[in-house]
Every structure is written in C-alpha cells, then in structure tokens.
Amino acid sequence: MGLFSKIKDGLKRTKEAIAYKLNKLFTGGVLTDEFYDELEETLLTSDIGAETTDQIMDRLKDEIDKNHVRDTATVRDLLKNILVELLEENEKPEYDYPLVIMLSGVNGVGKTTAIGKLAKKFKKMGKSVTIAAADTFRAAAADQLTVWAERAGVRIIKHAEGADPAAVVYDAAQSVKSKKGDVLLVDTAGRLHNKKNLMEELKKISRVVDRELPDATVYNYIVLDATTGQNAISQVDLFNEAIDIDGIVLTKLDGTAKGGVVLAIAGELNVPVVYVGVGEGIDDLEDFDVEDFVAGIMGD
C-alpha cells in the first residue's frame, strides 16, 4: 500500500469510528454493538465471506449515518436493499433461438440434474430440445442423463464412456441442425477448476459449439452448489477464464445453506445468478428471484 492510500485509509477509519460513536449516542443505544454483531453473523454464516461482509457493513453504516436511522427495523431494510442492489447489478442473459446452454462446474454440484430440469422447462415452452451427454468420464453419467431425458421427453445424443466429449457435442450439433431444433443442452463432466488439462478440454468443447452452430445464441452457465463456501469464487473465476461464464445455476438451495457466496461473486466477477435448484424433482428449478434469495439470507 502506498503512503497516501494508507493515510486515506486511516482517516476513513477514524471518520467511521467517530460517526459510529455519534450515531450510538443519538440512537439512544438501540443500534448496539450486539445488534451489529448479529447482522454481521447473519451475513458471515450465509457464506458471504469476510471481505464482502466488511464492505457491506461499511456501506450499511454509511447509509445509517446519511439517513439518520435510529431503529433496527429500518436498518434491516437498508441492509436488504444493499444486498438486492448488489445482486441486481448484473443483467441476466436473454434467450434467442436456436439456443445452446452448456453447463459446467466442479464435481457433484448437480449439473446432470440441472440439465434434466432445464430440458423439462424448455420442453414445456414448446421448444424442441436436444441433450448432449458430454460427460463421458464419470461412471454411468450418460445413463443418468438418459433417465432425465426420458422423464423430460427430449432427445439425447450420447457416446460410449471414455469417448471424446467434443465429438459428442459435434454429433449433437449436427442433429440440432438437421432437425432444426431450438435448444441444445450440453452436460459436461465435473472438473476441478485448478486442473489445467481438463479446463483445456472444456475450451475445446466450447469451440466446437461456436464452430458448428454459429447462428445460435450460446450461454455458458456454471453450476454452483449452494453449500459451497468461499471456494466458489475461485471456481467462477477460473471457469470464466477458460470459457467466459454468462451465468450461474445455484443448486441445492432446499437445504440449510444460504448460498451467500454469490454476493461475493456478484461484487467481484459480475456474473448473474440465472436459476436456482430447490429439490430433486424435475420441476424443482426456478428463475432466480433476488428478493426471495435475500429474504432467505436475512432469515425472513
């Protein structure tokens, strides 16, 4: 840190400390340390992360000063607004057909299940849907996806286990072209984002899609498990580096995890949440609703 930024930082902190003390004086002690601690705990325990939580709390304190807030209910509303704003900064992708959606992510986040649910969603909209089973690595992944395809009543293109995933996608693209399909959903194998060669493979799959379906609208979504902590930031970062991530599918929100890490991601990486997974049923995929999500974090 340079000397000036250090001084600036120091001054800011002093200013904050004074403002905070004044505020406490004026509010007659309603906004106590305990109250702030509780708010902070709420944010931290929902996986928002220490840094983002600090930023949010700073912003909250600023707004409390600016608006001369003296009661806890208003503070909670202010906090909610901050969270909503953070999440609404990034616009969701708009759909044009033919449409390709490719799901990627680390192992076990629920990619295959999400593909099944998406297939049903588009099918319901009257679209002609094809699934490309490009997870040729995990044992029986294609079998699992076939069950989902049957449930949704859509086509599936698959190869044998161990086949080249890019070849599966190539075949699927040809099928979509010849049948004039509307939607191609690509399921990829789970891969840890720090494995270079697997990320290269993903790039190759992505290139095949772009080359074979040049007129299609292509979106790359990363699937995140809501139970995941701060590592999700690294996941989005590295997948984004490899294939330009357009959105997030946040799964397993039906548990007790809040998935707050997407707030850190929204702030740092500008990737919007598009869908949320809320169960194991084929219809348990919902459009991301900011207000609902924030209410979940705040425990309302």
Partner: protein, 447 residues
C-alpha cells in the same frame, strides 16, 4: 487469494514494529486476532467455531514469551497452528474391524459429496490391505446410481450387491447376509445422498444402521463446503452417531476450513481424504497439513521448525554477538554450512516457502560446493580459521592440497566469506537481527 497474501504475511505486518521486546501488547494481539479471524473465515471455518478459536488463541498469545529467533508474527502463527492441529486431532486413518465378520461400513452424506466415488477408493484400499470387500448398492433414488457403483466396482474388481430400486433397508440387510454366505469380510454400503433436514430419508439411514449394525459410519463431506458444514455434520452425527468423516475433493484449491468446523462440532476423527478421480487417490488425514492449508501458508511452519532445529538458539545468539562485534570468522562460516546441511535438500526447503512452490535449483551442485567449502575450511588450522587475513599464497596452496581442491576454489571460498562479512556488516548497521531466513537466503546465493 492464497499464496503469499497469507496470514503469516499479514501478521508479519502487524508485528513489524516490535522485534526486540519479549512480549506482545494487548493492542497488537487484538489486531493479530482480527487477521486470524478473517483468515479463518475466508477459509470457510464456521463463524461460531472461529469465535471460540480466536478467544482461545488470544488467551495463549497474551504473555507468551516471544523467542528471539522468531518474529512475533511467526510466533503467533505457530500458536495458531498448534491450536489448529490440536483441534483437528491426531492422524487417524485406521478403520475399526468387527470381531465378527463381516465388518460393515456405511457411507452417508449430502448429494454430490462423492460417496460412490469414495466407495471405490475405500474398496481398493481395503483390498490392498488383504481384505475382501463387497459393495451394497443402496442408492435407489438417483437415476443410474446403481450403474455407477457397478462401473466403479468393475474398475476396482469388487462385486456389487444390488436388488434394483427396492427398499434400501432390506437391500442393505440382504447384502450383509450375502457377504456372510459368500465369505466377504467387509461390506461397504453406498447410500443415497440426502439433505440432513429430510426426516424421512434420515430415518431410512437409522433403519439401515439398526439392521446392519455397522462398525463404521462414515460421513462424506465435500471439502469445499462453507458455513453449512456444521449443520450437516451436527445433524448426521446426532441422528446416526457417525464414527468418522471423509473429506473429498481436496485436490482442488479449497482451503478446507470445513474440516475444522466438522471436527469441532462432532468431535469425530477425519479418517481419509479424497484427492483425485482415480481409485488410488485416497490419503490418510494429516491434521498438520490441513492446518497449514487452512491458514494458506504452504509449509512455512515446518520451515520455521526446521530452521530452529538446524540452528540452535545458543548458536544463533553466539553468532549474532560475534557479528555485532565484527568477529565473524571462518569458524562461524563452517557452522553455517553445517546447519544448512541439517536443513536438508535445498529444493525441499524452498518448496516450503509460500508462493515459491518449487525452485529450479540444482541442489546436487550446491551440495557439492558446500561440501568443498567445508573441506577447505577443515583443512585450515584453527588459527587460520580465526584470522583469515594471514592466509596468503603458500597457505592457500597447502590448504588446496589438503582439501583436495584447487587454489582457485580456496580463493572463491575466501571471497564468499568476505562478501558474507560485508553483508553482515550492512545488516548490522541496519540493526537487523540474524534470522533463520537470512541463512536460507544466503544458501541461495550459491546459485
């Protein structure tokens, strides 16, 4: 994130102003605890666990004598690390074996934690140990889960007992009967992933437990899990009284704070780690490695310890004093070489420094040179070692002959010695204390 921006660094900043005082002030401790708190939270250790932990470390750090050879920052890191290791328990990768075979091992956990994959690894591991395991396919819910286990079983050459998508409780019980009949000594039950708040499915697990009386109930947890790890582990433990934990996907770049959370809410040992997609990618759990990982600082602690071991406190003080009096002689130079040798391969040492993972140093070449230097010094008389200025041409020739080296090499050593002395003088005027790190840096000068 990660790399050098680690806790050790931040604490170093906090403590940079105090080097000679023996105790940390309360204000410094407080600031340090703030850094520790953030580091642990960013590593996904649960909020409540962090709170307790920081309180305990804070208590220990106040009044803790700061060793002269370490910076206070490192000292606090050491306390934090020791507490972490203590909290995470000992290395315990042993599986209990039932006195009446078969030994039943029941896997459980959330969806996508990696149960089925880990079944394969555990099976392969047990086979290697001379056991004869069998799998029981009790995930009847996820599409093709049974298929997956069969493919896994084929790869590791272990049979799978399955009865389609029937009642998992019955399938588990039948599997055990079958194992007895066919002479398998271990049954690994793969259950469906489930949410801890799904009462119906949690009851199913309780029933499987009741019917099969497992020796081990292993909760499989994704090492990338965040704050929710405590809720999951607590509920599974309350409902099933688990015997241990499996931490999966540790080959990623997660800090893995969940390990600490789980351990502190359940008190149950973490028995194994999954570190890859192949069946051999199973490792025992090392609490010390996990601690370093959570703190994001490579193996800096082993480095501190190694340096401490190699250079005794007393030696260090003596050397410091001689330096201060400008009496650093070839004898001291020799001591330094000896301590370097004690620290082991230079590449290993470098690899322990955060952010430096592997330097491409030809350690053999360096070791050879150090050995040569040692031989040269040992070929000098004690008087020569303490008064290097008397070593002129004829003495050099004798020393070279005595150590099996050349005069050029003797010259090189004397030059190196002069440079070191110069460096120390400079360091002395800058009032820098002699630190283990400096010795390392000096070793690298030989490149």
């Amino acid at each position: 994130m990660g790399l050098f921006s680690s806790l050790a660094d931040k604490l170093g900043n906090v403590f940079s102003k105090i080097t000679s005082r023996g105790k940390l002030t309360e204000g410094e401790i407080k600031q340090a605890m703030r850094e520790i708190r953030i580091a642990l939270l960013e590593a996904d250790v649960n909020y409540a666990v962090v709170k307790d932990f920081v309180a305990r470390v804070s208590e220990k750090a106040v009044g803790e004598q700061v060793l002269k050879s370490l910076t206070p920052g490192q000292q606090v890191v050491k306390i934090v690390n020791e507490e972490l290791v203590a909290l995470m328990g000992s290395t315990n990768s042993k599986l209990e074996v039932s006195s009446k075979p078969p030994t039943v091992i029941m896997m459980c956990g959330l969806q996508g934690a990696g149960k089925t994959t880990f079944c394969g690894k555990l099976g392969a591991y047990l086979t290697k140990q001379g056991k004869k395991p069998m799998f029981a396919a009790c995930d009847v819910y996820r599409p093709a889960a049974i298929n997956q286990l069969q493919v896994v079983g084929k790869k590791v050459n272990i049979p799978v007992f399955e009865q389609g998508t029937g009642n998992p409780v019955k399938i588990a019980a039948h599997a055990v009967e079958e194992a007895i009949k066919l002479g398998y000594d271990t049954v690994i039950i793969d259950t469906a992933g489930r949410l801890h708040i799904n009462e119906e499915l949690m009851n199913e697990l309780k029933e499987i437990k009741q019917k099969t009386n497992p020796t081990e109930i292993l909760l499989t947890v994704d090492s990338m899990t965040g704050q929710d790890a405590v809720n999951v582990a607590k509920t599974f433990n309350e409902q099933l009284d688990i015997t241990g934990v499996i931490l999966t996907k540790l080959d990623g770049d997660t800090r893995g704070g969940a390990a600490l959370s789980i351990r502190s809410v359940t008190g149950k040992p973490i028995k194994f780690c999954g570190t890859g997609e192949k069946s051999g990618d199973i490792e025992p759990f090392y609490p010390d490695r996990m601690a370093s990982r959570i703190l994001g600082m490579g193996d800096v602690l082993s480095l501190i310890e190694k340096a401490q071991e190699a250079v005794s406190e007393e030696e260090l003080k003596k050397m410091e004093k001689r330096m201060r009096e400008n009496k650093f002689t070839l004898e001291d130079f020799l001591t330094q070489f000896k301590s370097l040798a004690k620290m082991g391969d230079i590449n290993d040492v470098v690899a322990m420094i955060p952010g430096m993972s592997r330097a491409n140093v030809d350690s053999k070449q360096i070791d050879e040179r150090i050995n040569k230097y040692k031989a040269i010094i040992l070929s000098m008389t004690p008087y020569e070692r303490n008064h290097p200025e008397v070593i002129k041409a004829s003495r050099r020739k004798r020393i070279a002959a005595g150590s099996g080296t050349t005069v050029q090499e003797v010259n090189a050593l004397l030059k190196q010695y002069d440079q070191t002395r110069e460096m120390m003088k400079a360091a002395q005027s800058g009032k820098m204390p002699m630190q283990p790190q400096k010795i390392i840096r000096q070793k690298r000068r030989f490149r």
